[in-house]
């Protein structure tokens, strides 16, 4: 189903790392799409490739990583084909990104005002510094930074983690990006601050129509924020569906395992131990034959050790990569 109001479509993206020890297929054939105004989540454990996917969109993957295959169609154009110079025009402009560590993501020797102003001065050459400053203060107000005029001249180390992340969001959205990629933005924050930031992101989407790709390992965040979610494992999408559908009707054993791992506070549960999926994330240099989740799967069948499953359409916009549903 294409052309709804599609903003971004990734087709079969492969980003490999050419290391001394071999080729690491960090992103091994990812396909996803984001509509205008939609918030999608990419969920998975550390090392599953979700960050690399997002970095690939902006072509920020550093050596020895390379996009080897696939298309990233944004507003009708394939980003993979674009030159670095063209990407410079897109980064921070139509597509922005915020990262996990607000503590270290801001340059300690410049004021936050200067850094956020820079974000708009790069792309809008014809506005003056004074106009840029006004816009910065507007953004600060929008993201909920108190006393924005005063804070303009503050240094990063003078702000708390939550405030810094708001600054990052301001910096990302000051050019009215169509797409915001948020790579675990709340993982390093307290739960209460996290809730505020998530609220802010939802509000921004509602007010400005910015689409958001939310990358996280936390299913709670996904449930709170996203409209649609993709579950990733070892470089591939295992399952994706609309959010309620996914939580109500999880199909892939991995997704089921993830949901089971969320600690429950229900007295009716006789379970005394916390559930965790057995086994460990596989070494991408030596993936098992067949389905890459098979070593950790409770429902593994014989075919699972022989062939990797393809994506199977389960209806309702719900797709899953598992032999159980053939």
């Amino acid at each position: 189903m294409e052309n709804r109001d599609e903003l971004l479509r990734i087709k079969n993206l492969k980003t490999y790392f050419y290391t001394d020890k071999g080729i690491v297929p960090a992103v091994d054939g990812i396909s996803l799409s984001v509509d205008k105004g939609q918030i999608i989540g990419i969920v998975g454990e550390s090392g599953c490739g979700k960050s690399i996917t997002s970095l690939s969109i902006l072509k920020l993957v550093s050596e020895p990583g390379k996009i080897v295959e696939g298309e990233i169609i944004f507003q009708g154009e394939n980003l993979v084909d674009k030159s670095i110079n063209e990407m410079h025009k897109i980064r921070g402009n139509s597509i922005s990104m915020i990262f996990q560590e607000p503590m270290t993501s801001l340059n300690p020797v410049y004021t936050i005002g200067k850094q956020v102003a820079e974000a708009i001065l790069i792309h809008k050459k014809d506005i003056t510094k004074a106009e840029a400053k006004k816009k910065v203060i507007e953004m600060f107000t929008l993201v909920g930074i108190p006393e924005p005029e005063k804070r303009f001249n503050a240094y990063p180390h003078q702000l708390s983690g939550g405030l810094r992340q708001r600054v990052m969001i301001a910096m990302a959205l000051i050019c009215r990006s169509k797409l915001l990629i948020a790579d675990e933005p709340t993982t390093a924050l307290d739960v209460t601050i996290e809730a505020q930031i998530l609220d802010l992101m939802k509000k921004l989407r509602d007010d400005t129509g910015t689409s958001i790709i939310m990358i996280t390992h936390n299913l709670g965040v996904v449930a709170e924020l996203c409209d649609y979610a993709y579950v990733m494992y070892a470089g591939k999408i295992m399952e994706h569906a609309e959010i309620f559908e996914l939580f109500k009707n999880p199909m892939h054993p991995y997704t089921i395992g993830l949901l089971k791992s969320i600690p429950q506070r229900n007295e009716n549960i006789e379970r005394k131990r916390l559930y965790s999926i057995k086994g460990m994330v596989p070494n991408l240099l030596a993936l098992p034959k067949g389905c890459r989740f098979r070593p950790r799967c409770d429902d593994a069948m014989e075919i699972c050790s022989e062939k990797e499953p393809e994506i199977i359409d389960a209806g309702n916009g719900h797709e899953v990569r598992c032999w159980k549903y053939l």
Partner: protein
Amino acid sequence: MNMMSKITSNDPVEEQEDYQDENRFKEFFKSMKKNKLAAVSGIIIILVILMAIFAPFIAPYDPYKVDLNNQFLNPSMKYWIGTDMYGRDVLSRIIYGARISLMIGLVPTLISMIIGTVLGIISGYYGGKIDFIIMSIVNMVLAFPSLLLAMVVMYTLGASLINIFIALSIVGWGGTARVVRAQTLSIKNKEFIESARAIGVKNSIIMLKHIFPNCIPQLLVLFTLNIPGSILSEASLSFLGVGAQPPASSWGLMVANGREFLFNAPWVAISPGIAILIFVLAFNFFGDGLRDSIDPYLKQ
């Protein structure tokens, strides 16, 4: 993702391969081989060592024989690098000079590292007043510009090759002492030292058997990297006239002697310098490669 798991395993929780000793050595050699520059340098070093040992067999002429009929001959098939102001074959003098350079590179460096290691371990291990005294002396020695200190010592002892050994040994131990002391301090507080002491092992044994072996990788790297310094120092001192004296074929001295004839017979002064350069570069590259290979090992 960093552990090497067995490829056909059905259960990834099975043991991961530990990095045993043999794996460390294999990794080390692999990385040395990969660093082509370091490998080539290693070969050059070995060649120079062979050249020094077998000098009498390799050198075409007697390096000391004076023949005033053959002064300043241009490089030719007969004399590959020509002759100097006394008619001596420059190539032979350079080959024999390798002996001096090698000795200077190895011996004072070794001596100063031994002194530095001993004092560094003692200083770090015992701490307190001993540490204070030793480190004060180290600071003094290190604050003294090394060439100047060497020159002063040579003044005191008199200019000769033997005295250079002494001078360079005195000048060089400070840096080693500091590094070894730091290493000692970091190991000193680890549990296995505590337990050794608790069993009643003598201090000297602890220092020898437990602390010292942990310093060895760093010392190896330091050694290789200090050798060029000694060679350059000797060359400089001899050049200034306060080092080896004629007719020794120290490369530095050769450059000094050839200086006044730079215009007419440049090869006399320039070629020994090239020899120094190649030798020092080889040690620097090798030492760099060594350090890069040993670093991951150090981090464990």
